[in-house]
């Protein structure tokens, strides 16, 4: 479903070929007014139920918004928001948040060796994503990460890689992984 969503967006952009179809972070900033109460206008979450999305890969943000819009992913608030967005608005707002830079630092006294090996190849040791289709996890509320991993484990959220990984995780591991990334210090900046 996620691949399909990207294909649709890619198709739109190719078919357009005009500025109207290119993603526009400035337009996206206007769309982001709908997001800012929970995610912050800069993508630094203002409440633990919402993930930090500033500096997230644009591909990931687009894919998730399309998944909420199509019903492939469900959330009591995001399903409502995404259903009102056009593909162009999704592309724009993803571009706005992706135009920020997320940087992370491990808290003093922690060793990189303690990072969860199951996660680091996509999400990084410090929770800054190194794959276009993986979200940053740095500084996320541990309860948010726990919620997502449990959803992958029982199948209420699906992803070709995550579903398989989460299926094997115990509650104990899920909490440990979540705790690792939630302790990371996250900064989100944007150059004008």
């Amino acid at each position: 479903m996620r691949l399909a969503a990207i294909t649709i967006l890619g198709g739109l952009m190719l078919a357009g070929g005009t500025p109207a179809f290119a993603d526009d972070p400035v337009e996206g900033q206007k769309v982001a007014r709908m997001c800012q109460t929970c995610h912050g206008i800069d993508g630094l979450a203002r409440m633990p139920i919402a993930p930090n999305i500033g500096g997230e890969p644009k591909e990931y943000l687009e894919a998730q918004l399309m998944a909420f819009k199509t019903g492939a992913r469900e959330h009591e608030m995001m399903t409502v928001v995404a259903s009102t967005l056009s593909a162009q608005q999704i592309s724009d707002v993803a571009a706005w948040y992706a135009s920020h830079t997320a940087s992370a630092s491990l808290p003093a006294g922690t060793s990189e060796d303690e990072a969860p090996s199951e996660c680091v190849s996509c999400h990084g040791i410090d929770g800054i994503s190194i794959a276009l289709n993986a979200p940053n996890l740095a500084g996320e509320a541990n309860t948010y990460i726990v919620t997502q991993l449990r959803a992958f484990r029982i199948g209420t959220r699906k992803h070709e890689i995550m579903s398989e990984i989460a299926a094997k995780l115990s509650d104990e591991q899920i909490r440990q992984f979540a705790d690792w990334y939630s302790k990371v210090n996250l900064q989100i900046t944007r150059e004008e």
């Binding site: 007014r33 109460t37 929970c38 409440m47 633990p48 409502v80 928001v81 309860t143």
Partner: protein
């Protein structure tokens, strides 16, 4: 020691599906042993506190009332003031419960630290006290109790018992994040009442039967040892605030409204329940408005929906509420309800972030509702300075307002200038 003998009675079976370390801690704690957990302290002075104090000037209250910063408390959600009033326990939607301590009784917290750091909490949003000093904490999918928490909070290893084991409040498949913030109260019947929000905007029809049976989208009650669980309230979307009328023991609760039907419907709800099992209409109706998706779904047979007592502004997000018993506030507030509006999240023009007051008439119905405190929403920019979540009262009758956006607890006192 009395507490010691109580613990085995409230421990129900083994702890399942918990992190091993936390499980070991739970076992140690239930045997009154020590762990090596240590406290996290929240700085009550410095930049953060000063920035919060700057917000106070924007808060408008009726004449004679004063607003101040009571404590810096990150992610502050539902509150429970301990019987002696020295410590207030504050839930979060993360992994902490905060102990907010005012030892010198100057009505400003002198210490804020995490409660029971040896316990691994999961969305411990809802603390509540029994009259005999047991603290209950309703988590996403577990309920714990801490005997004499008011005295044991000083150490990292307070005694703990399990009222509802992990995974037994609701089926794990029904866990969400946003609608699994619980609140609890001990009723006049001595039972523990817990709200169970349903995890959708509007639930699909094929879940109706299961939800109704478990009490998802309702309020359940049980004995304080976890036995005798039953569904007390039906037909709610996601209630995050309830309290009992001290005058007659009736349950009142707020409810949050369906999103995506427009800016002005459905209205927010304040409800009165006067019999067990009453149905409040959801998902067929919400704030008196019919839900389109349920137009053709048969309504439960022989059930009359109870309409809300008060219709609040749509999407203002009415959350925590509490009756004002008696105390230092003027008489017009005695016996009435204070409720917190968290504020809208996707309304075109934001609304809410206020404290509302609802007076009751002699029959125990809502008589009138007015804004009591506002100003946490910057009307010019539409940005929040803070978002009130819950209301509590200190023994002196002053009000505490928790705020999970600013990360604060505000205090509102009645302090009229005496005529010269």
């Amino acid at each position: 020691m009395k507490i010691k003998t109580l613990i085995p009675g409230i421990m129900l079976g083994t702890v399942i599906a918990m992190p091993v370390i936390a499980q070991e801690n739970m076992e140690k704690l239930s045997n009154m042993q020590r762990t090596d957990a240590s406290f996290t302290y929240v700085d009550q002075e410095g930049e953060r506190a000063n920035a919060l104090r700057d917000i106070v000037q924007h808060i408008k209250v009726p004449e004679g009332f004063e607003v101040s910063l009571y404590a810096v408390v990150p992610d502050a959600r539902s509150m429970a003031v301990a019987p002696q009033g020295t410590v207030t326990f504050v839930g979060t939607r993360k992994d902490k419960v905060w102990s907010v301590v005012d030892r010198d009784r100057d009505r400003v917290a002198d210490e804020v630290k995490d409660f029971a750091p040896s316990v691994s909490f999961d969305i411990p949003n809802g603390p509540c006290f029994s009259p005999d000093g047991f603290l209950f904490i309703a988590e996403r999918n577990r309920v714990l109790t801490f005997p004499a928490a008011e005295f044991f909070f000083e150490g990292p290893d307070p005694a703990v018992g399990e009222v509802v084991p992990q995974g037994q409040l609701i089926p794990a498949e029904e866990e969400s994040f946003n609608h699994t913030a619980r609140v609890c109260r001990i009723g006049p019947d001595g039972k523990l009442y817990i709200s169970l929000g349903q995890p959708h905007n509007v639930q699909p029809a094929d879940k109706l039967e299961m939800y109704d049976k478990i009490g998802i989208g309702g309020i359940i009650r049980m004995n304080t040892d976890g036995s005798g669980r039953e569904v007390y309230t039906r037909g709610i979307r996601n209630s995050v605030g309830h309290d009992f009328n001290p005058a007659n023991g009736e349950l009142w609760f707020t409810d949050n409204q369906v999103d995506g039907m427009g800016d002005d419907i459905p209205p927010g709800e304040l409800n009165r329940q006067n019999a067990a099992g009453q149905h409040f209409g959801f998902p067929w109706t919400n704030g008196g408005v019919d839900i389109p998706a349920y137009k053709d779904v048969p309504r439960p047979e022989a059930v009359e929906f109870v309409e809300p007592q008060v219709q609040m502004d749509a999407h203002a997000a009415d959350l925590g509420m509490r009756f004002y018993k008696k105390g230092s506030f003027p008489e017009k507030y005695h016996g009435g309800i204070f409720s917190a509006q968290h504020g809208s999240w996707n309304r075109t023009t934001p609304v809410g972030a206020r404290v509302m007051f609802t007076a009751l008439d002699e029959e125990g119905n809502a008589a009138s509702t007015e804004v009591f405190a506002e100003g946490w929403l910057n009307q010019e920019t539409g940005e929040y300075r803070g978002r009130p979540m819950d209301i509590a009262f200190l023994p002196d009758g002053s009000m505490l307002v928790s705020d999970d956006f600013a990360g604060a607890i505000w205090r509102i006192t009645y302090n009229p200038v005496s005529p010269q």
